[in-house]
């Protein structure tokens, strides 16, 4: 077995008594005090996450926009400088290489935040299409040069504001600013993966531990808690957000995953655009649904879904929702069955347990 990768905060997690797990080759904290406790902190106060394992890729040069728009589904030409959007990195098949955040730094520079375990694949893919199409720009893998810390929850803005002169209230949701945190350079994005307000901060790796400790201290009066990947997963699930390798992967299209809103055919040709146009015209055959367990049990990744007693689909993610006090999940069903209100069964350890398809997100924060 190869050595696990470590973020610059590895020692800090261990010092806090975190339980560490192998997450896609990274030695990451799954929890500190407990998943439910951490989850609740984010919904009611704030949580601090080390997401330094995430990858960052820069696309720079005169044709940076052309390349970004060619390999992704969303229309980056609509972004203003300082704006962020969610997008799909595509294969020619119209399926996902990854799901990513695209930040427009300038007309000639785009900053992509990508999934940890996909970063090398994503970089190679984007670079391959740059060469193939001869776009005049460069693709730079910045993952190893950046740490990322997320502070999420209703109190996130007050906590982070203690450490920065950047007016955080002026950064709208899905916008970012380049500024300073504790007088050190930081890219501050009002983005997240929890369904709460909050910020994701990109800093130099050698600065990460100091920022982590300062944020923990600044957040103490607000009830900020360090949070692991366990809570990150239950939070994103409640918020109805997809996780690569579960709801989306190299065999799933954005339309199937209910992500048609990130596909912008009007921008012109892009990888998979012909496949996606056909699928949109003909309609999808299967679709992602949210479900809620009615019987006792939790539908987990890979479990069979039955409709009228017959195998019809599979669960992609599932677990307890600490906020709602129910067991929820996502799964794929044939499109005629993928309708909210449909009675389904999830096979939990050879027992068919009643459930019902329901609309997502399961949880939406009050504005």
């Amino acid at each position: 077995m190869s050595e696990l990768l470590k973020t610059p905060l590895n020692a800090a997690h261990r010092a806090l008594g975190a339980r560490m797990v192998d997450f896609g080759g990274w030695d990451m904290p799954v929890q500190y005090t407990g998943i439910i406790d951490e989850h609740t902190a984010v919904r009611t106060a704030a949580g601090l996450f080390d997401v330094s394992h995430m990858g960052e890729i820069e696309v720079r040069g005169p044709q940076a926009l052309e390349l970004v728009n060619y390999v992704t589904t969303n229309d980056a030409s609509k972004l203003a400088v300082g704006q962020v959007h969610y997008s799909g990195l595509m294969y020619e098949t119209g399926c996902f290489v990854d799901d990513i955040l695209v930040h427009k730094v300038s007309d000639a520079e785009y900053f992509l935040c990508v999934n940890a375990s996909n970063q090398d694949k994503d970089f190679a893919h984007i670079e391959q299409w740059r060469r193939e199409k001869g776009f005049d720009c460069e693709v730079v893998n910045r993952g190893p040069e950046l740490a990322q810390i997320a502070v999420q929850g209703p109190k996130a803005i007050q906590i982070l504001q203690k450490l920065t002169k950047t007016d955080l209230a002026a950064i709208k949701y899905y916008w970012f600013a380049d500024g300073e945190v504790s007088r050190e350079r930081a890219r501050i994005a009002r983005t997240g993966y929890t369904g709460e307000d909050g910020f994701e901060i990109y800093v130099a790796p050698e600065q990460a531990e100091a920022r982590w400790r300062e944020l923990l201290a600044a957040g103490e009066e607000f009830g900020l808690k360090p949070c692991g990947l366990g809570a990150r997963n239950t939070l994103r699930l409640e918020a109805g957000m997809a996780l690569y390798g579960h709801e989306i992967d190299a065999s799933i299209t954005p339309y199937e995953a209910g992500l048609g809103w990130i596909v912008k055919p009007a921008k012109g040709e892009f990888l998979g655009s012909d496949v996606l146009a056909r699928q949109k015209a003909e309609g999808v055959k299967r679709k992602l649904i949210g479900f809620e367990m009615r019987g006792r049990g939790i539908g987990r990744d890979g479990y069979e879904i039955r409709v009228d007693g017959v195998a019809a689909g599979w669960v992609t993610s599932g677990g307890p929702s600490p906020t709602l006090g129910k067991n929820i999940g996502f799964g794929y069903l044939p499109v005629d069955k993928a309708v909210a209100g449909t009675a389904i069964e999830v096979v939990v350890r050879s027992q068919a347990v009643e459930a019902v398809a329901i609309p997502t997100p399961f949880y939406k924060r009050a504005k």
Binding site: V30, I35, G230, I298, R300, G319, P322
Partner: protein, 127 residues
């Protein structure tokens, strides 16, 4: 509470058994609940079920995952802890006491002697 009773016997699958007469009370260890995290479901066999040492008789489900529970001993389930159905979190709070899982009438009293002593178990989990 993380006190591991001296009189219990333990398994490498992190169950314990406490013998009283011909009956063994079975639970999971403090270490097991800590590894699992927040426990949300406990599936137990019905009274009357025959169980076999080393075979799964139920499962414990945490927020993150499901884990089998293996019987430390062979015998027949004579009682189950009904409180756990509505209060699975008790397993996180008192795994060596109030949150016992099942009582088993032992088929072979000698079997218990083959299980780990407290000292051996602690050495095992600290290794």
């Amino acid at each position: 509470m993380s006190d591991y009773p001296e009189t219990y016997r333990y398994t490498k699958e992190h169950e314990w058994v406490a013998v009283d007469g011909d009956t063994g009370t079975v639970g999971i260890t403090f270490h097991a609940q800590k590894e699992l995290g927040d426990i949300v479901y406990v599936d137990l066999p019905r009274a009357g079920t025959k169980v076999e040492a080393g075979k799964s008789f139920g499962s414990v489900e945490s927020v993150k995952a499901v884990s089998d529970i293996y019987s430390p001993v062979t015998g027949e389930v004579v009682d189950i802890n009904a409180d756990l159905a509505d209060g699975p979190e008790k397993l996180n709070e008192d795994p060596h006491g109030a949150a016992w899982l099942v009582k088993i009438r032992l088929a072979d009293m000698g079997e218990v002697e083959t299980l780990l002593s407290l000292e051996d178990y602690l050495a095992y989990i600290e290794a």
